[in-house]
């Protein structure tokens, strides 16, 4: 696909989602909005197989053989590479404080190409991606998806991921394919190494697919929605809890 067509494709998806948001008033989808459950479960089985056969052994070796300091450096670098996305999306969401903080941190850590966190975790920036920008624009969450190799996403967040990668490819001198070839596998191994026990425990649960869906949706909604959403969610849960306490 040429760059012109790729850009057109991304524009088309964005337009579709914005229109979807305009027509849909149910911003907070229920956890059970999973019309593709059957396909998702098959993809989950495939991902689990790939994880157990390839990713998990590689990440275990990575954690065992590579010193912690180097692993932290790689992890910092990957986070630093994601910062431009946070800067752009914070600006789009008119969160100027986060835009400024992220820009300052990006420039400062740029001196070490992001391998060393020069402000030693003092500046806390909120991670923002295009999925969160779409949520800010009231685009509905859409059905839950289990994406091959990538894992759990909502339709909105998956679109956001594609657009973020496209933006990064436009900003960088490398092509999108080159970027993905280098960044995605390292990112997956790094994240798998950090979440090793959590993922292994999920596989031990009664229904790992539902557990992963629940974890992902709760965490994502907590990350991107406002205080009002969290308060609303807590009020509903409180009413339910009081009922069971009687």
């Amino acid at each position: 696909m040429t760059k012109k067509y790729k850009f057109l494709f991304v524009k088309l998806i964005t337009a579709l989602f914005i229109l979807n948001g305009c027509s849909n008033s149910t911003k907070f989808a229920s956890e059970n909005k999973d019309p593709f459950e059957k396909i998702n479960r098959n993809v989950f089985q495939f991902n689990k197989y790939v994880d157990q056969e390839i990713i998990s052994p590689v990440s275990k070796t990575y954690v065992k053989k590579i010193p912690a300091k180097i692993r932290t450096g790689v992890s910092n670098h990957l986070q630093w590479m994601d910062t431009p996305s946070t800067i752009i999306n914070s600006a789009l969401q008119t969160d100027m404080e986060n835009t400024m903080l992220a820009s300052a941190k990006f420039l400062l850590n740029g001196l070490t190409l992001g391998f060393y966190d020069l402000d030693k975790g003092e500046t806390v920036i909120k991670k923002r991606d295009f999925g969160s920008t779409l949520a800010w624009l009231n685009v509905s969450e859409g059905p839950f998806l289990m994406v091959p190799f990538i894992g759990p996403k909502t339709t909105r967040d998956f679109t956001g991921t594609i657009i973020d990668k496209q933006n990064m490819a436009t900003l960088s001198t490398n092509s999108l394919d080159d970027l993905n070839l280098a960044e995605i596998p390292i990112n997956i191994i790094d994240k798998r190494g950090k979440m090793s026990k959590t993922i292994d425990n999920i596989y031990l649960s009664a229904d790992p697919y539902i557990k992963i869906r629940s974890f992902y949706l709760q965490n994502r909604r907590n990350e991107i929605y406002s205080e009002k959403y969290i308060e609303n969610k807590n009020n509903n849960l409180d009413a339910e809890f009081e009922k069971f306490l009687d």
């Binding site: 975790g121 009664a206 969290i230 807590n234 409180d238 809890f241």
Partner: protein
Amino acid sequence: MQSLKSFWIRKKISKFLSHTFLIFVIFNVNIAKSFSDDLRMGESTIQQMIIEAQKHAIDTIKLEPNERSLKIELLIKKYINLDFMSKATTGTFWKKSSEKQREMYKTALLKQIVLTIEEHLNTLANLSYKPTKSEKRGEKLIYVKGLIQDPNKKKPDVNLLWKLAANKNGSVLILDLEIEGISLVSSQKAEALSILRKNRGNFDILLNKMTKDK
């Protein structure tokens, strides 16, 4: 005569008003006191549990995995309301289950909670807990919020929210824990209800799935 009567009425009214005011003050002070007592109890329950968990993490590190799990199980049992958690995670299906199935479910649920706690126990020993806010919600619930922090700032802060309520004996127990917005009860509920609905409320199938390979 007239002035004596009006003086008597005024005296009565002022007595009535002062009594009303006194009742109002006592009532409000008691409510505020019971609210702050509940909050204090909630906060101290969590503080005590964190201290015990950190001590456990260090004391049990050299034990065999099974022995360690057993010790953690005893610790958790002391602080959580397992009856509530079991009811809240199975919803209407709880009423339809037998006494034996309920007991088996409680045991399986406790094992899952132990597994989750064990996963973070070793790291907890090197981290610090900082309470941030507590609030009374509705008639019975208490929210205690806190942060797990790395003193060396190598790991990002982890937001915790404990939901507690007093049981019939008056002791405050944990109903739910949210780690970075992920609720233990909500995720277990999603899982249990999905299995129960697919199997027409068959509790035995849920129990089989929960205890497989463990």
